[in-house]
C-alpha cells in the first residue's frame, strides 16, 4: 500500500482551519491572529525548503552534504538552547556549552545507531541519518536547556548556600552537588515520561508517520523503540555533560563561586 498523495487543494482545506482560528482570535481579541498567520506561513516555507533540501540530499548520498546539513541543524539547536535560558554563561560559553554537549552525545549516538544497530550502507545514508539526527537534536535540545537553566538559576538563587558550603571546607563538587543532581534530573524527566506514556497516551509522531506511509505497524514500532532508547540515552548523557561542564565553569581554579560569569 502506498501513501495517498496530498494535493495543494487538500492542504488549503487544512489551511482554512487555521484561517478560521486566526479570525476567531481576532474576534475574541486574543492578540494572536498575527502570530498564528506568521507561524503558519513559516511552517509552510520552512518545511517546503527542508523537503527540497532532503530530496536533493537523498539523490546525492554525499558525506559532505550530510555533514553540512547536520552541522547546520546543530548550530540552530545550540542557538535555541541559549535562547531558552534565563541566565546564561557569558561569552562563547553561553553558546558553546549547550552546543558542545549536544554535539558529543547526539552525533556519537546517531553514528553508533547508523553503523552498529541499523547498519545502513553507506552509514551516512541521508534518508536514515538526517531524520535520526533531527530527532536526537530536537530532544537533547530540550534536555540540555532544561538542565542548564535549572543549574544557573538555582546557583544564582542559592549563592549564599554554595558559599557557606565552600567556607566550611567543601570542594566545589560537593558544594553544588544537590544542584547538579537536580539539574540532570530535570533534564531527563521529559524523556522518561515520554517512554512511560508511549503508545498509551500518545502515538509517537515517527511511528504514526511510518504507519501512514504503509509500513507494517510492528516494523514501525521497532523503529520507534530504537528511537526512544537513543533519544533517552542521548538526552541523559548530554544533560549530564552540560551540567558537569557548566557547574565547573561556575567556579574558578581557586574554587571560588564566580556568578559574574553568568549574564
Amino acid at each position: 500500500m502506498n501513501v495517498i498523495s496530498l494535493s495543494p487543494f487538500d492542504l488549503s482545506l487544512a489551511a482554512l482551519l487555521v484561517l478560521v482560528l486566526a479570525a476567531m482570535s481576532l474576534i475574541l481579541k486574543l492578540g494572536l491572529s498575527h502570530r498564528i498567520l506568521i507561524a503558519a506561513i513559516r511552517t509552510v516555507v520552512q518545511l517546503l525548503l527542508i523537503g527540497l533540501v532532503l530530496k536533493t540530499l537523498f539523490a546525492q548520498v554525499s558525506l559532505l552534504w550530510v555533514s553540512v546539513l547536520s552541522i547546520f541543524m546543530l548550530l540552530i539547536a545550540g542557538r535555541e538552547v541559549m535562547a531558552r535560558q534565563q541566565r546564561r554563561f557569558g561569552g562563547v560559553w553561553g553558546y558553546g556549552l549547550g552546543t558542545l554537549s549536544m554535539f558529543v552525545s547526539s552525533f556519537a549516538l546517531t553514528i553508533y545507531a547508523l553503523i552498529v544497530i541499523v547498519g545502513t550502507d553507506p552509514w551516512y545514508t541521508p534518508q536514515y541519518a538526517i531524520p535520526l539526527l533531527g530527532m536526537m537534536l530536537g530532544n537533547t535540545m530540550t534536555g540540555v536547556s532544561l538542565a542548564l537553566d535549572k543549574l544557573t538559576t538555582t546557583a544564582w538563587q542559592q549563592r549564599s548556600v554554595i558559599e557557606a558550603r565552600l567556607i566550611l571546607g567543601q570542594d566545589w563538587r560537593t558544594a553544588v552537588g544537590d544542584i547538579t543532581r537536580d539539574s540532570v534530573r530535570i533534564g531527563m524527566i521529559p524523556m522518561i515520561n515520554a517512554m512511560a506514556a508511549a503508545g498509551i497516551v500518545s502515538l509517537p509522531g515517527m511511528m504514526t508517520g511510518q504507519i501512514l506511509s504503509g509500513t507494517d505497524p510492528i516494523e514501525a514500532v521497532k523503529y520507534q523503540i530504537l528511537i526512544m532508547f537513543l533519544i533517552t540515552a542521548g538526552t541523559g548523557f548530554s544533560a549530564m555533560l552540560a551540567t558537569w561542564i557548566g557547574a565547573r565553569r561556575l567556579f574558578d581554579e581557586r574554587q571560588r563561586l564566580r556568578l559574574e560569569r553568568l549574564s
Binding site: R165, I167, G169, R258
Partner: protein
C-alpha cells in the same frame, strides 16, 4: 606558628592592606559598605583579590583552596542552611559548644526552618568551631543575639582563641564590645584601614 599575616591585600575599593594578627582578638570596624565583609571574604579566598595572605609560613595561593578555607574559618553575617535538620549540617556532634551557647543537645534534631535568627547564628558558630579552624574571621557574630547570648558567644570565642592559639578578627559596631574583647582595632575609613589602640 599560627600568625595570620596579610600582605598588600587588595579587594574592591579598598587600598592595599597589610597587617598581622597574633593569637588575639582584633576588632574590625567601619561604616556599612566600607568593605569589612569584602576583606574577610578575600582573606578566606572566597572572592578574587590581589595580594597575599599567610598563615604561619603557609601562603594562601600555594595551598589547596579547600584546605585553606578549613583553616581560615569565616563566619558570614548571615548563616546559610541547606538541609532540613540542624544536625545534618554537623560532622561531629560536639555537645561542649552547644552547651556553652545554651543550646540543648537534642536541638540538633530541630528543623532549621523553625529556628530563630539568633538560634541559627549560635548553631553557625558551633558548626564553624567544630571544624577546628586555625583562624577565625567573624562578621558581626553577635548582631542578632540578645545580651546573654552575646556574653556567651564572647566567652566561647575567647576560650577557643586562647586554648588553640587562634588569631581572631571580629567585625563589630558595638563600642562596649570592642573594649571587652580587643586591644587593637582596625578601622576602615575612606577606603583606608588604620590601626588604633582600644
Amino acid at each position: 606558628m599560627t600568625i595570620l599575616k596579610v600582605c598588600d591585600l587588595k579587594v574592591g575599593e579598598l587600598r592595599p592592606v597589610s597587617f598581622s594578627v597574633d593569637n588575639e582578638v582584633v576588632c574590625l570596624t567601619g561604616p556599612s559598605g566600607a568593605g569589612k565583609s569584602l576583606l574577610l571574604r578575600a582573606m578566606a579566598d572566597l572572592i578574587v583579590h590581589q595580594g597575599e595572605a599567610y598563615l604561619g609560613d603557609k601562603k594562601c595561593s600555594k595551598i589547596n583552596p579547600v584546605v585553606w578555607r578549613q583553616w581560615v574559618g569565616l563566619l558570614p553575617a548571615e548563616s546559610a542552611w541547606w538541609m532540613d535538620k540542624v544536625g545534618d549540617h554537623f560532622k561531629h556532634k560536639s555537645d561542649d559548644y552547644l552547651t556553652a551557647l545554651n543550646l540543648p543537645t537534642e536541638s540538633l534534631g530541630w528543623e532549621v526552618s523553625r529556628c530563630s535568627t539568633g538560634e541559627k547564628q549560635r548553631f553557625a558558630i558551633v558548626r564553624l568551631l567544630e571544624q577546628q579552624p586555625k583562624v577565625l574571621l567573624l562578621d558581626e557574630p553577635t548582631a542578632s543575639l540578645d545580651a546573654d547570648s552575646v556574653k556567651q558567644v564572647e566567652a566561647v570565642i575567647q576560650n577557643y582563641s586562647s586554648e588553640f592559639n587562634v588569631p581572631v578578627i571580629w567585625v563589630s559596631h558595638d563600642k562596649q564590645q570592642i573594649k571587652r574583647l580587643a586591644r587593637r582595632e582596625f578601622k576602615i575609613l575612606n577606603n583606608e584601614i588604620k590601626e588604633v589602640t582600644v
